[in-house]
Every structure is written in structure tokens, then in C-alpha cells.
């Protein structure tokens, strides 16, 4: 690899992105607005589906367990279920045997469920959640950051290279000594650098406006961000390898990004969803990014605790990048 050619291509791509004010402001503003919108919306939470973890024989719950629009999820042990209440993955945890329940005091859903529980004539004792309770917005932030990284990675590399191919930029570059590897490496590094910069801005901006929890190491979070972004940029390279039609590329990128966003637990926990959906979600890089980022930010997890996610993201990066680079054509 010729460093001079790589660096010049990298600088040119960075300039192109930073001077495209429309794209830049959209990349920064959109996630900030989403987080702010959700932060306000969820102070008066209007979700119509509650999730209640239930431990023990269902017969003991009486009328409460017969209420519609509440999803009752059986749980096996309290130790793993209580933190889910903290993280808004469960709105309430009900221990039918000991006749007690847990709610998160910051959760509007928890409050509503508590009122419903007492209104149905059940006498349960309220338990406090151990440790600091987290708000929905604390849980949401890593997901929104991940979603932004996903869109920026897939469209910022996939769509841009397809556009270059369609309008002849790639053909002109092919006529120079620049190699495909140098070109692709410049695109990947440029996008990675921009994602880290933009995510940093979004992180700071949302922290100023809504304030959220960060219990882990910033370096660990940076590693999660870099690996998550690399895996999704590499996925974008596969889309960009051969296609020369922007509309088709747009369709394919949407087909990848929307199911990924819905299945990766960005907005709502997949707790209680069918097993097959949860298994499928593990095949998506965004799931591992979001889960790892949540563990670092909310639980203060270190590298060892999130090793599984990091390993999967690294493997995905390697596989996607190999396929993308091997199948790449200038035209």
C-alpha cells in the first residue's frame, strides 16, 4: 500500500463530507433530536404495552394477570430479573411466591402497573430496586448512537461508492495507479474517523441537553464504537462492491438497515419476543454494538465482560471486509 496515495484519497473524502453541509448537519442533528424527543415523550410515557416479569405459579396473581395489553414474561431467577427492571427491560417484576414486586421509581410504566396491581385487590409488598435506577433515556442513548452509526456506515460508504461508480468517479480513479485496496481503505478510515467525531459530538450534545448515565470507561466505549462502526462499514462495502444503480443500492441499504434497527433492540427491549427473533438479532452487528454499549454505559462493564460482543464484531468486520474487498470492481 502506498501511504501517499491512501492519505490523499482519505483527505479528499473527508473534505467532501465535511463540506457537504446538508449531509453533515443531518448526521449530527437527527440523533440529537431523536434523543431529545424521546426524553420528553417518555417523561409522560404512553407506551400501550407493559412488560411484567413473573416468578412463580401464575395462579397466584389473580385478576392482575388477566389484564390485557400487559405482556407477562416468566422469569427463573430474581438475580438476573431485577437488573432488567433497573434498565427498563421489564416494567415490573412480580414474585408470586413471596408476594412482592419491584418497579423502577423513574418509570411511568412501573407506576401505572403498581396502581393496576393494587386496584385488582392484590396485596404485594413493594421492593426497591437495588443500585441506581436508570431512566428510559439512559437505556435508549446507546441504541440511538448505534442506529446513527449504522445509517452513517451503510449509506456513507455503500451509497457513496455506488454513486461514484455511476457518475464515473471510479472510472477516472481506475485510470490512475491508485489500487482498489488503497481506495477502499481510505473510504473505510475516512468514514470511521467521521463516525467517531460525529458520535462524540452527538454524545456530548445529548448529554448537555438530557444528561445520561456513563458508568464505564470511555476508552472501552470508544473501542465498542470503533469495532461496531467498522463491522457496519464493511457491510456497506459488500453492497458497494458491484452495484452501479443508486436506486437499487438505496433499496438494498434500506432493506438491511430497517430490519436491523427494529431487531437489534434500539428502541425497545427484545425481552419476551419469540426465541427465533432473539437468535436472529444476534446475527446483526447493531445488536452486539448496542448491547455492548449499554453494558459499558449502564453497568460499567469492562473489556472482559463484553468480550463476546467484541469478538463477534471483530469476526463480522473480518468476514464482511474480505467479501467486500474481493468482490469490488471499479466499474
Amino acid at each position: 500500500m502506498n501511504i501517499r496515495r491512501f492519505a490523499a484519497t482519505l483527505v479528499a473524502r473527508n473534505r467532501e463530507f465535511l463540506r457537504d453541509r446538508m449531509a453533515l448537519s443531518w448526521n449530527i442533528l437527527l440523533p440529537v433530536l431523536i434523543v431529545m424527543g424521546f426524553a420528553f415523550a417518555f417523561t409522560s410515557d404512553n407506551q400501550d404495552l407493559f412488560k411484567v416479569g413473573v416468578m412463580g405459579a401464575p395462579g397466584a396473581g389473580g385478576a392482575f394477570l388477566a389484564i390485557q395489553h400487559i405482556k407477562f414474561i416468566p422469569v427463573d431467577d430474581l438475580e438476573s430479573a431485577v437488573p432488567k427492571v433497573e434498565r427498563h427491560q421489564l416494567d415490573m417484576l412480580l414474585d408470586l411466591k413471596q408476594r412482592r414486586y419491584w418497579i423502577n421509581r423513574t418509570s411511568a410504566n412501573g407506576y401505572m402497573l403498581e396502581r393496576l396491581l393494587t386496584a385488582t385487590g392484590n396485596v404485594f409488598s413493594r421492593q426497591t430496586v437495588n443500585g441506581k435506577e436508570i431512566r428510559y433515556v439512559d437505556w435508549l442513548i446507546p441504541g440511538v448512537l448505534g442506529m446513527n452509526v449504522m445509517f452513517s456506515s451503510l449509506f456513507g460508504v455503500g451509497y457513496v461508492i455506488v454513486r461514484y461508480r455511476k457518475n464515473g468517479v471510479l472510472k477516472r480513479l481506475k485510470a490512475t495507479p491508485l489500487t482498489p485496496f488503497e481506495f477502499l481503505a481510505a473510504q473505510v478510515i475516512s468514514r470511521l474517523w467521521l463516525i467517531i467525531m460525529v458520535t462524540g459530538l452527538v454524545y456530548t450534545g445529548t448529554d448537555i441537553f438530557v444528561g445520561f448515565r456513563m458508568n464505564g470507561s470511555y476508552l472501552t466505549l470508544l473501542l465498542v464504537l470503533a469495532l461496531g462502526a467498522l463491522s457496519m462499514i464493511s457491510l456497506g462495502l459488500i453492497v458497494a462492491a458491484r452495484m452501479a444503480n443508486e436506486e437499487a443500492a438505496n433499496g438494498l441499504l434500506n432493506m438491511l438497515s430497517w430490519p436491523m434497527m427494529l431487531l437489534s433492540g434500539v428502541w425497545f427491549s427484545l425481552e419476551g419476543s419469540p426465541q427465533i427473533v432473539q437468535q436472529l438479532a444476534l446475527l446483526l452487528p447493531l445488536t452486539h454494538f448496542t448491547q455492548a454499549a449499554r453494558e459499558v454505559m449502564i453497568d460499567g462493564a469492562g473489556l472482559w465482560e463484553i468480550r463476546w460482543h467484541l469478538a463477534v464484531l471483530s469476526a463480522m468486520t473480518g468476514i464482511f471486509m474480505t467479501i467486500g474487498a474481493r468482490t469490488f470492481r471499479w466499474e
Binding site: 496515495r5 490523499a8 467532501e16 464515473g168 468517479v169 472510472k171 481506475k174 485510470a175 490512475t176 491508485l178
Partner: protein, 295 residues
């Protein structure tokens, strides 16, 4: 002396279409060779195979006696017919970007001056006029001080003044003894710039030589042009002149101007608005192919 580029029996077959049909020619050092022909004749396909952009179906291309390899990219300057450049980048930045790709480059200031880019160096490449854009693309093609320069339809879409300015730039390049391969469908452009031309039609070379040689070998005459309504219908049968109708004029190819004009006067033809000119490459093309050049 060995030609700089040798092309032997080059073929490019697309599904159902033979775009290039077994052509051979050489490009000597320091010459300007033109590939001429109408749209779809196979000029761009040929030149893109020579540039290494698309592979040939069969045939052989030798650069300095050897096969085309990676070094060829360092030695060739290329200006495509249609090129987009990265957006939101200035002229100066674009030149710097492309300059970094090559080991040996010309001084940027010299190139900026010779291609007259100085007035718009800090302008976004998207905001250039047609002529400015072509001059920038030419400067990019010259950045590596190439041994051979490929220009594919370089003046298509330019206004007459911009075309003339561009021709002068190419003449300056020729004066530096550079080798130039040019495709064009403008016969006047080929006549003005090329030392040697190959006229292509339907993927084949149908005539080859210097413009002067080609015209001399096919025409020993002048062309008399008269308005169509000056020519009586009976003239074609009653005299031995060779008549060709072109739009609203009739052209008469004449070996003996005096006797042809005398014959026209004898037939009572008015010589008002008569024009006499030498045959052009366009006449030659029509003579060779029998169909309109830009059809």
C-alpha cells in the same frame, strides 16, 4: 524505430455486437493519431481498451514493445469522454489529489499556467464552465508528464471559442513532442490536430494515413456547391458531372474547375451563391461509408 504503441487484430465482442472488429494500427512516438468516426463506430471502446479500462476479447497491445503492465498507468495520461470528479473539492485540491497518485509529476504551477487554470483554482469543480472543466481534465491527464496522452472526444459540447482554445492547448502539447491518441467525430478537429488518422466505421478501420494523404488519394478535385433550386432536374442526365445532394445544396466534385463551370453555364445554371472549396475529411467519410457522419 519501434512504435510507442502497437495494436494487433484487436476485437471487442459484446453480447450480439462486435464493437471492435479486428483492427490493427501503430502509434509512433511524438505523433498525434486520431481515431475518427460517427457515434457508435467503436472509437471509445478501442481507446478504453488501449487505456486498460476495459479488457479486449482478443488481440494484442504492446507498449514500448512489451505487454501492458502496471507501469503503463504511470506513463499514460487519460482524459475520458465523460468524467465526474469528487464533489465539494476545489480545482487546486483535485490537482493535488491526482498528483499524489504518481511517482513522477510535472510542476503544478507550470501545468496551471499552461492549461490556464489560474483564475479558478479555488472554485468547486462542480461550478466550472464546460471549457474550464475540460482544461482541468486535460491538466489531470498531464499531471504525470505522460509518455502517451489519450483524449476521448475532448471538445464535444464546447462552444466554438472554447474548442479553438482547447485545440491550441493540444498544439502546445504536441510541440513538446508528446504522443497523443485522440478520438473525435469532428473532422475539422482531426484535420487541425492529427498527423495520422484512422477512420472507423462499425468497429473497423476503413481508411488510414495522414489527412493530406487520404484526401489526395481519394480526391483530385474541388467541390462546387450550389443551391438546390438552381439545378434543373434534367442536369443529371444531360451532363457528365458528379452530383451529390446535401441538405438544400447540390455538391459537384470536379477534376477540372474551368470546364465544369463552363458546362454549368452552358446548361443555363445560375452561379449566384456558388461556393468552391477543397474536399474535407467529411467528404472523404461520406465517400467511404455512404452515410451521414453524425447520423
Amino acid at each position: 524505430m519501434q512504435p510507442l504503441l502497437e495494436v494487433h487484430r484487436l476485437v471487442k465482442q459484446y453480447r450480439g455486437v462486435r464493437a471492435v472488429d479486428g483492427i490493427s494500427f501503430n502509434i509512433e512516438r511524438g505523433t498525434c493519431v486520431g481515431l475518427l468516426g460517427p457515434n457508435g463506430a467503436g472509437k471509445t471502446t478501442t481507446v478504453e481498451i488501449l487505456e486498460g479500462i476495459i479488457p479486449a476479447t482478443s488481440g494484442e497491445i504492446l507498449f514500448k514493445g512489451g505487454p501492458i503492465d502496471d507501469q503503463f498507468r504511470q506513463s499514460a495520461g487519460i482524459m475520458f469522454q465523460n468524467t465526474a470528479l469528487q464533489e465539494h473539492i476545489t480545482v487546486q485540491e483535485t490537482l493535488t489529489l491526482f498528483r499524489s497518485f504518481y511517482r513522477h509529476t510535472r510542476p503544478l504551477n507550470e501545468l496551471i499556467a499552461s492549461c490556464a487554470l489560474g483564475d479558478f483554482l479555488s472554485r468547486d469543480v462542480q461550478k466550472l464552465s464546460g471549457g474550464q472543466r475540460q482544461r482541468l481534465l486535460l491538466a489531470i491527464a498531464l499531471l504525470n508528464d505522460p509518455e502517451i496522452l489519450f483524449l476521448d472526444e475532448p471538445t464535444t459540447g464546447l462552444d466554438p471559442q472554447a474548442r479553438r482554445n482547447f485545440w491550441q492547448l493540444i498544439r502546445d502539447i504536441k510541440a513538446e513532442q508528446k504522443t497523443v491518441a485522440l478520438t473525435t467525430h469532428y473532422m475539422d478537429e482531426a484535420y487541425q490536430l492529427c498527423d495520422e488518422i484512422a477512420i472507423m466505421d462499425r468497429g473497423r478501420i476503413i481508411a488510414q494515413g495522414s489527412p493530406q494523404q487520404l484526401l489526395k488519394s481519394h480526391f483530385e478535385n474541388s467541390v462546387i456547391s450550389l443551391p438546390l433550386d438552381h439545378i434543373p432536374a434534367s442536369l443529371k442526365e444531360s451532363c457528365s458531372l458528379s452530383l451529390h445532394q446535401r441538405n438544400r445544396h447540390v455538391e459537384i466534385h470536379s477534376n477540372d474547375l474551368n470546364s465544369s463551370i463552363r458546362m454549368l453555364l452552358d446548361q443555363g445554371v445560375s452561379l449566384e451563391q456558388m461556393q468552391i472549396r477543397s474536399p474535407t475529411l467529411e467528404d472523404l467519410f461520406l465517400e467511404l461509408t455512404g452515410h451521414e457522419l453524425r447520423a
